[in-house]
């Protein structure tokens, strides 16, 4: 088998020779993926929900519309549902069948999210998987796993940690990481 770098370039070259790739198409799409789709987007949405009760209500009722207010739309973001954590409930997102994720608000899925280890294990051994990854939840915290098997794209809405009173939205957003938005981490005031 030819190495994957050679196969990937062969596919591009074959399409190019048939003039099927519009000028700038790959560059523009790559910029979307590398720059525009970013977990900082989701973090801004979460921070707003933490400081604005009306926005929080909208986010939970209609995540797509709430994210649209920030301009976070596009492929893999057409139907966004926010999953609200509480101190005793941790929501965790996976796609066991492939790799579906809310690109516009979370960015492209990270390698570990697409790993066979995560996909196979988190639905069955969620607590052990989270502990191994560094999130050791007490038994009193219930874990709910959301398998992204259709067109809904989930984002986790974490609960605002103690010690963040009076923080600006920007500072609040800074503790909401990609891992927090997937549900394998919780935000910390002293992170």
């Amino acid at each position: 088998m030819a190495p994957i770098a050679r196969r990937a370039h062969a596919l591009k070259e074959a399409l190019d020779r048939k003039k099927l790739i519009p000028e700038g198409f790959i560059e523009n799409f790559t910029k979307l993926m590398e720059v525009d789709w970013d977990p900082a987007n989701g973090a801004r949405v979460v921070a707003r929900a933490w400081v604005d009760p009306a926005f929080r209500t909208l986010l939970i009722k209609d995540g797509t519309r709430a994210c649209e207010q920030f301009g976070y739309t596009g492929p893999q973001g057409e139907y966004i549902v926010a999953l609200e954590n509480t101190p005793t409930l941790q929501n965790v997102i996976v796609c066991t069948l492939c790799s579906c994720t809310a690109w516009p608000v979370l960015g492209l899925p990270p390698d570990w999210y697409k790993s066979f280890e995560y996909r196979s294990r988190v639905v069955r051994e969620s607590r052990s998987v989270l502990r191994e990854m560094g999130l050791d939840l007490p038994e009193s915290v219930e874990i709910k796993v959301w398998d992204t098997t259709a067109e809904t794209r989930y984002m986790v809405l974490p609960f605002r940690p103690a010690g963040t009173e009076g923080w600006s939205e920007e500072k609040l957003a800074s503790i909401v990481t990609k891992d927090v938005l997937i549900g394998v981490a919780r935000p910390l005031a002293n992170a």
Binding site: L15, I26, L97, S115, R119, V123, E125, I143, K144, T149
Partner: protein, 215 residues
């Protein structure tokens, strides 16, 4: 299909290769060819309309299982995408192999797929439903770990989408809402289950009202 890709609940894999909040996630791509995988996929699915994303998912599922398991993620996207350009007559495998300077194995052949059953009345939030006992040879988005299991509807989508068991084969596909169906994790994985519940997003055609015969 009950393929190697349907990984939920499979035992034997090791530790997830990540410690929380240890990565910046930049750069997004690690190899200079990786961005081509999604770019050329969206060229075909979005710009050229040569195929749809359900077909892409199914093309990846149709990879020879050993190839699927051995290939890195973006390699699988490249193979699935290339398979569809070839199956749709845009490119030939010979062209690809000549340009790659070596073998370029593509997905295994398609089966027929199946149409969605005619629309029935919708389910409501709170309804108890059973995931059908269907064994589908083609594309499906119902993971095998819920087959025949009882769950409760927690959300019905306000949008409808093409039934993937048809769309994934390039067939005319009825649109249906999907349902977030909450399953007790112990019903899915026995006493060792470590979540309270697993919520799966299922097309209407994958569901039957609980209490119907033969469930």
């Amino acid at each position: 299909m009950d393929g190697i890709h349907d990984l939920g609940g499979t035992d034997g894999f090791g530790t997830v290769p990540h410690h929380v909040n240890s990565q910046s996630y930049k750069p997004v791509f690690h190899e200079p060819w990786e961005h081509l995988a999604y770019s050329l996929l969206f060229l075909g699915a979005d710009h050229l309309k040569t195929f749809n994303v359900d077909e892409l998912r199914h093309a990846i599922e149709r990879m020879e299982p050993r190839q699927y398991l051995a290939a890195p993620y973006y390699d699988r996207i490249v193979v699935g995408t290339a398979s569809l350009y070839v199956e749709k007559g845009v490119l030939t495998q010979a062209e690809l192999e000549a340009l790659a300077g070596g073998a370029f194995p593509l997905a295994r052949p398609q089966t027929e797929g199946r149409a969605a059953r005619p629309t029935r009345s919708h389910f409501e939030v709170g309804d108890e439903v059973i995931a059908t006992r269907d064994f589908i040879r083609g594309h499906t988005r119902m993971p095998k770990y819920v087959r025949g299991k009882k769950g409760r509807i927690v959300h019905r989508t306000s949008v409808e989408w093409p039934f993937p068991d048809a769309a994934g084969h390039g067939r005319e596909a009825l649109r249906q809402p999907t349902y977030h169906v909450s399953f007790d994790a112990k019903d899915l994985f026995g006493d060792g289950a470590e979540a309270s519940s697993v919520v799966v997003d299922l097309w209407e055609g994958y569901l039957e009202k609980a209490g119907a015969p033969n469930v």
